[in-house]
Symmetry: C2
Subunit: 466 residues, 2 copies
């Protein structure tokens, strides 16, 4: 009797694993615990485990691995730190998880060029630790201590994006193992180029669906001579957003500008032992020369005042700044502590900044109307905000209400010419929104995917709707 | 007797033209003079004329035009102002030139969001003229008064790129008519997005080979409160480059930083009636608050001094600044006047900034060794520089020497991890260098082209080597 398709699939996975074991020795594992850990993230997105996990150590090794998987048509799922938020690392069709965490070498720091070349498993904190003595830093800060490879793959951004851009602006070049096992370097180390299609930007944000990133060249920046930070409470979200718009229009090169709503302030006061006024609040940071940050802070203070902002207290001492930003970074844990026994559902959308206040206010009203609660925090200079819902996963009605809310949130952002995700990515969680956002563009994406990965072995089931 | 392939081709072009004439009336022309003007640019790249020129007026009209051309497999060559420099507008396989100059409407200016939406035929000067009263401006300045569509298609940059980025960083979204006639909007108006493949960046720099750009959303910036500009002479190109590197590392947000070599200074002194010292010179501009630009100028002056730079005179009065920058912008004409009766050959390469001095010095020595002369000017903050050769096209030995020099220039830049073009693009003139620069990446580009434009109707003979 002929083998069934499922049997054939199992056979090819088994054969791929046998070949990979020969290549990698005990750096290939099929241990259930390791597989489960690699297929599941911290979110509510249901995770599925891969058939094996490979701890790779070089570009050449990844090329051999992909060639083997391609031969047997076995899925390849790249994995950095597992901190992505939309089910990117799940293995719905099985396959081999490529864990790059041991590819954690900083290959070069070119101080004169303000750039560096790193392996994809280097985390952003490790990179900045390494850079400290050079006077340089890498600004992109998505919150988690994510890997540079993962941040590239998801087009990460975070609090500093308003000043320094996202991974889109800060990746200079990539080395990528393509689905056919070819090694491609997407660009030279020059700051700019007009030579051919922008393969770098095609790979940034492709979420492992077009290849495995094995080397990343990044822009670096001089650590500013002076940094000042501060908080400023406003009578409403709208007033805070208006102050933000005027600040940006004035050309004040603010480095960070975070909106934290009064619900989050209440929880952060309790968790981080602060005594901030329970009002929509902007957390700000200015980078520059000593004179420059003093001027920026003063100018912002004047703008804030004209929109009813409270007195703008600013801190230039490192420990004062750190305390402030620690509270912002702990926002998630503050909320989680306030909602014991619930799963968190973190999501993000991004709209033109002129629509931000309206989008946030409508979203809060929607939450009230549907008896949902959770804080809103936002990278307000980019029009990007997060809602964190807390949900008892055992209660189907709570889960259903959260899902319906997320659908409405995305449709609200799209109706305002925004995007279904500013920085978390599509993964498996937001695939259903891609068509609504991109229309005919989805077919273009599909044809690119088909051209580059005809067998669909690279992280199948992500980004593109089936 | 059956028709020959050439006859069949002529027939299909004739049929396409007949259908297009029905669509466009007298906005389709086959006049030889108009065709020749649209197939030839100002460079030494040999131009070929299209079979017809269509003066389109809307996205929908372009979609119908492309559908007709696709049906008959007739090439489509997009055309803005014809100011590109590598033979982008030539029609080596005939076809229909799509002139977008009548699509010159500014569709929207969103002052609160610091963005605008324009048709592709709007020129950068027309846009800035329109924006003046809003207090906003669009910074990208490739020299020529190019169309926004053309600047997008060639990934243009220019003098302001060191501060504001290139078209890559400043295009938010595009409407594109794809080779199958589908209309695709590549992104929403949100500042950032992590939703799917970056179709915007794929189209930026694709030189009309993947579709016709019919609408462009751009980032805008507040006109700075204060601008100061100045010139500073250095004892050597190396000293000037070192001052540039330290300036950038110090985080001084310089807006323009142009290197002009002593040969160009000599010609500019004569042409623009200036009395600058005949030495490698930096032209600089600072944008910011009044206090900010004063501080930036002072800090730069200190750095320049430590590298032997002459006294840094800076001008904040608009007329003084304009005189200075006019001389920089007139550099080409100054050189052309000094070399009567010769054709100009303008080229560009871009290297990591740490290699810039070396690359410029080696290039000058190469020119001396081969009895070539011409100025070097550069967007030195990006590592990008231009060489303008002047060549008597009647003298084959001069032409051959210039061609051999260009080959060596590109190979020198590539050997320094640079690119064969920082901003002019590949067009037809630099196709032969794509393989040397991108290696296996060329096959990825080719597969994307094949997937999106399987009949190869979009600007054939550009970017990809045959």
């Amino acid at each position: 009797m002929a083998a069934s398709p499922a049997e054939l699939k199992r056979n090819s996975v088994a054969q791929a694993i046998a070949d990979l074991a020969e290549l990698l020795g005990d750096r290939l594992t099929t241990s259930q615990a390791v597989r489960d850990q690699h297929g599941n993230d911290l979110t509510w997105n249901p995770g599925q485990s891969p058939d094996a996990v490979a701890f790779v150590e070089s570009t050449e090794e990844v090329a051999k691995l992909v060639t083997i998987c391609s031969q047997y048509r076995v899925p390849v799922i790249p994995y950095g730190t597992g901190t992505s938020l939309e089910g990117h690392i799940s293995a719905p069709h099985g396959g081999v998880c490529v864990d790059v965490s041991r590819m954690n070498q900083i290959i070069a720091v070119n101080e004169l060029d303000l750039d560096c070349v790193v392996q994809p498993g280097v985390t952003r904190k490790a990179l900045n630790e390494y850079l400290r003595d050079t006077g340089l830093f890498f600004p992109i800060d998505p919150g988690a201590d994510a890997s540079i490879g993962g941040m590239t793959a998801t087009r990460a951004s975070g609090t500093n994006a308003v000043r320094y851009g996202t991974m889109r602006e800060n990746v200079l070049s990539l080395t990528v193992v393509m689905p056919n096992g070819e090694i491609v370097r997407t660009a030279r180390r020059a700051r700019k180029s007009a030579a051919g299609y922008d393969l770098t930007r095609l790979m940034v944000g492709s979420e492992g669906t077009l290849g495995v990133i094995t080397e990343v060249s990044l822009r670096l920046y001089g650590i500013p001579e002076a940094i000042s930070a501060g908080v400023c409470a406003f009578p409403s979200v709208e007033a805070a957003c208006e102050a933000v718009i005027i600040t940006i229009q004035s050309g004040i090169p603010v480095a960070r500008m975070e909106l934290v709503d009064e619900h989050q302030i209440r929880m952060s006061n309790a968790y981080s032992k602060l005594s901030l006024a329970e009002a929509p609040t902007l957390f700000l940071e200015f980078h520059g020369t000593t004179e420059g940050v003093a001027e920026q802070s003063r100018l912002f203070g004047e703008i804030a005042e004209s929109y009813g902002g409270g007195s703008f207290d600013w801190a230039t001492r490192t420990e004062d700044r750190n305390k402030l930003w620690q509270a912002r970074h702990d926002a998630f844990w503050a909320a989680k502590t306030a909602m014991p026994g619930k799963e968190s559902v973190a999501t993000d959308v991004c709209v033109p900044i002129s629509r931000l206040a309206e989008c946030v206010e409508e979203t809060r009203k929607d939450m009230e109307d549907h008896n949902l609660s959770g804080p809103i925090v936002g990278h307000v200079g980019d029009g990007n905000f997060h809602v964190v819902l807390f949900c008892d996963m055992e209660k189907q009605d709570e889960v259903d209400a959260a899902k319906a809310f997320l659908d409405r949130l995305v449709m609200r952002a799209l109706a305002m010419d925004g995007t279904c995700t500013g920085e978390h990515g599509i993964g498996s969680g937001k695939r259903k929104f891609l068509q609504a956002e991109h229309g005919a563009g989805v077919q273009v994406m599909r044809s690119i995917k088909q051209a580059i990965d005809p067998e669909n072995i690279m992280n199948p089931g992500k980004i593109l709707p089936s």
